[in-house]
Symmetry: C2
Subunit: 589 residues, 2 copies
């Protein structure tokens, strides 16, 4: 059976030993209250929530799924009680704004908590995570009155939030969406249209659901610059904060999906629903991106979290299941066979999972710290640098964590052999659950395009150059601790630079280049970043000779030998250009 224990030791190591997060937190008033001890206590408690409240409902939630009956959505047995327990513990307000009842935890801790939630039960995790994203957008762009009305109730878990973007004919291309908003005399709007794929659009976990809806005002410009953002609550809210009339926001049906079956994916019909503008008119996409950037990191963590659970489960199975003999001779001569962890191919799978999960966790924590600096630093330059880094790395985290999440959950399932294909063991669910993370919140192809186009080509590689400069600076100080890896990391950096230069060159001459080559480019960046983070982990155990330090060294060596070399073939593919990708006429396919 699948098993999960929050990897607190590795999280503490990454936060404290690798990044010295406390020194970052203590340097900024917004996070100054956070200390190493407090962070450890929070992680311990978070681990208990994930293991004890969320994980036990993961398998049953998948089997039972969400049910739809005439506009009413019922979540799987136990989800409501678990959600309430999360809310009571303050976990639904984890990194929320304290001004409105949030816990104000730094993002560098939140990424670790989110990883745990996805590890334990990503269907259940999506309800609070979407709500948190909605709060961010409201907090950043709505009026004080709207904030006061909605934020405290969402943070408290009494209400929840959604993001309503996609329409049947408009997904990746939001510029062509059709939902309409008509201004009313009282300053509110009437929203009419159909949205699809709305996570948590309807459910029984909270008494109200607050939709953030993209729609067009009359006479708005065509395309993405004519879209505005609205708050549309399921129940209107009276002056005193109590619930009023039912609004015209109704769930028409729920989707039958490959996975995340405990998460209600809704068709939402808005029929003259009353809504309130968030931010400026026609600036809705920018406002929504406050939420989407948050969600993209969080969805990346879905890949990482499921990879961790798959890894832990596969390790347990590989230690327990006996089959065949070690190549070096029987390890359990008194039994009929040895545990399969003796076999090189089983270890290859486990080590791959381990190297990717731990490398990804380090990148998530790094990104979390950058998000903290971008939000809380008093130094404008430091904020600007961190914002630039976050913009660059968000698409990498979303796509690379989830693509590698598919790799790792497939490997974990493979370790189980035939049992991996049987539902009751739980390994195939992780593959089904992780698969959506490569698709929603902008497909991974779109993430790659965002990276290669907006974040790299648009500023002529300046953000990427700044990142590589940071890594080189670190390497200059720390290379004495790295042995052979130092040179390999420098080579990987050179390849990343060469690929970036090549991308800029190709993009100048070939309008198709970025779209055709972006995925390989993102993968190169991802593998190079993990190489840096593995180097940082090695540097952090320098001088130690304990088991933990030793296992980090072995896993780092494995990463450099068996995973980093992929960048060479990726670059060979990449530099071939778009010609043969674009050459076939559409009717020849």
């Amino acid at each position: 059976m699948a098993t999960y224990k929050a990897p607190i030791d590795d999280m503490r190591f990454i936060l404290h030993d690798v990044f010295d997060a406390e020194s970052v937190w203590s340097s900024m008033p917004g996070t100054a209250e956070m200390s190493q001890d407090l962070a450890d206590a929070v992680l311990e408690e978070a681990g208990k929530v994930a293991e004890g409240i969320m994980f036990p409902l993961n398998r049953s939630g998948d089997e039972e799924g969400c049910q739809f009956d005439d506009g009413v959505v019922t979540t799987p047995t136990g989800f409501k009680e678990a959600f309430n327990a999360l809310a009571e513990g303050g976990w639904t307000a984890f990194s929320g704004n304290p001004e409105f009842g949030g816990q104000g935890m730094p993002k560098s801790l939140a990424v670790l908590f989110e990883e745990m939630m996805h590890s334990a039960n990503c269907s259940l995790a999506l309800y609070p995570l979407l709500s948190n994203g909605a709060c961010l957008a409201i907090d950043a762009h709505a009026t004080e009155e709207l904030k006061q009305t909605y934020l405290p109730k969402i943070y408290s878990g009494e209400w929840s939030g959604t993001m309503c973007l996609t329409e049947p004919h408009s997904g990746t291309d939001l510029g062509i969406l059709k939902t309409k908003a008509e201004p009313l005399a009282d300053g509110s709007y009437e929203i009419t249209g159909t949205k699809i794929f709305i996570t948590g659009g309807e459910h029984d976990l909270t008494e109200n659901i607050i939709h953030l809806v993209l729609a067009r005002l009359p006479g708005a410009p065509q395309g993405p610059k004519g879209i505005s953002l609205f708050i549309v609550p399921k129940f209107l809210v009276n002056e005193d904060g109590s619930l009023g009339e039912r609004n015209g926001a109704v769930c028409g049906s729920i989707e039958h999906k490959m996975g995340i079956k405990g998460s209600a994916t809704c068709v939402m019909n808005f029929d003259n629903a009353k809504g309130w503008l968030v931010g400026e008119e026609n600036n809705g996409l920018a406002c929504m991106f406050t939420m989407m950037n948050y969600e993209r990191v969080s969805i990346g963590l879905q890949g990482l979290g499921l990879g961790e659970t798959s890894y832990q489960s596969a390790v347990e199975y590989a230690l327990d299941r006996t089959q065949g003999r070690a190549a070096t001779g029987a390890q359990n001569p008194d039994q009929a066979a040895d545990p399969i962890i003796v076999h090189g191919d089983v270890r290859r799978m486990l080590m791959t999972m381990r190297a990717l999960n731990q490398g990804g966790r380090a990148l998530a924590a790094y990104l979390g710290l950058q998000l903290d600096i971008a939000k809380f630093s008093e130094d404008a330059e430091a904020r600007a640098q961190a914002e630039d880094r976050v913009a660059l790395l968000t698409p990498v985290a979303k796509a690379f964590f989830t693509d590698r999440g598919l790799d790792t959950t497939i490997l974990g399932q493979q370790v189980f052999g035939g049992h991996g294909y049987i539902r009751e063991w739980g390994m195939e669910q992780m593959v089904r659950d992780v698969r959506i993370a490569q698709i929603y919140e902008g497909t991974n192809g779109i993430q790659a395009l965002d990276l290669a186009g907006r974040k790299v080509a648009r500023n002529k590689g300046a953000s990427m150059a700044a990142l590589i400069a940071e890594i080189r600076e670190w390497l200059g100080t720390e290379k004495g601790k790295l042995g052979d890896l130092s040179e390999q990391l420098e080579e990987a950096l050179v390849l990343a630079e060469t690929a970036t230069a090549n991308l800029l060159e190709q993009a100048q001459e070939d309008p198709n280049a970025i779209n055709a080559l972006a995925v390989e480019y993102l993968d190169i960046v991802g593998y190079v970043l993990y190489a840096w983070l593995w180097a940082r982990m090695i540097a952090a155990v320098d001088g130690r000779d304990d088991e933990f330090a030793n296992s980090k060294r072995i896993t780092a060596a494995f990463y450099y030998e068996r995973l980093l070399p992929k960048i060479h073939s990726l670059y060979a593919q990449f530099k071939a250009g778009s010609k043969n990708i674009m050459a076939l006429a559409a009717d020849q396919f």
Copy 2:
């Protein structure tokens, strides 16, 4: 929605233009009746069966699944009628021995028919395919009386067959299986034990089910050399061929699986079931391998077939779905957006699928022809060479086709974006269905071990050297038709040789090397073989300037630029050796 049309044009091209199959067939008495025209007619009819009878039940079969009630298994609605139609058309006897009612079709045609069946409905396909494999083992190893009793009824589709190997504690490691066979006075045996994961172990498609069961005789040697093979029918067969008493072979339950839900995966309880020995005592594994080698190729084709359906469906969607604008400017200026096939990243996915599917189809046909030569040639040396080639390539076909089948079905699902995750579109089913093909019939890790250990290291690379020599000989004749690709193919051959030499060297010094490195080795061999087959396809269109020829050239160029380079990173990973794979203590994972 998913769509499927049998790719007859490509199949004809590969059979006739690439391999001149007719000249092979006409040179051997067993296949002399097959001609190009007859083959084309068979392919046309086979395509109708796949498209018209099997494919329409694919989606509904997945939703409905198999039902179990007190030992009785009901297949999805329509499966029985479809199976009967296959039987009436002689399709259940396609490559069966004509002496017992088989159609005697060459394997080079059968691989194409099997690809179609898997493309159309792999759950339904498994029933006749397992039956065919059982017939092969019976035909090769059973007594004349057993053959006369069982083969005609299985070929006719009145009865079906299974292979019963796995037990709860014994899967990959068959040497430790426990099912017992006690000899009876009348020359038959009593079989007792539990088998799991038995495809088609019980169902409602045929009036009798003939199990091939591995079991131990009293006093048999420990391990794989103490296993015998038995025929165990569900209903005993009277002298006159009519059905007699119910035998003690009963389905205890069926598995709830990730996919292939229309295929009944059974726990089979044998309780003093009457059985008959097939082949020599204690030689059961060798007899079963007659069946397993056949099934391994067939399961490889499951990967290929599903990849083809995913490709065709993704192309149709990419031509129809409009979203965004081409990088070179609007292609449909009168509509709100262009079809997504204009985008480089969508094309990257489609071209990857196309290159892998068509390359794989060519390898399947090549392997089919080698199987024909091994079986039908009158030249003993030609038979021996072909047998050697088949032994070498069977694990490659099984693992590489199915691993690439996961890649391609994932890509096809990704082209659909969010719709790819919704069950009704059918794209996620292909991912779920293909996933088992990497696991059953020997996991792909086991296939790689078979290749690297038994087929390469054991004969010091002689079989691989013979294959490379054949490719070089071909290249010597044809390189004038290949342009740049000739040199790249030669480089790939050198890398395959280097990897083989490195494997032999590592294996000599390190007992863990083969197990730890086999998967990368198999992938190198697979990518190099596809490079050869793409070269053969290019050579076959030499001098032609039509659309078909042009699309082959573009796809070949794409393959060489974007997929073949993977061999370099695979080799870098491979040559790093097993040290860091094996270094972590089991309790450090």
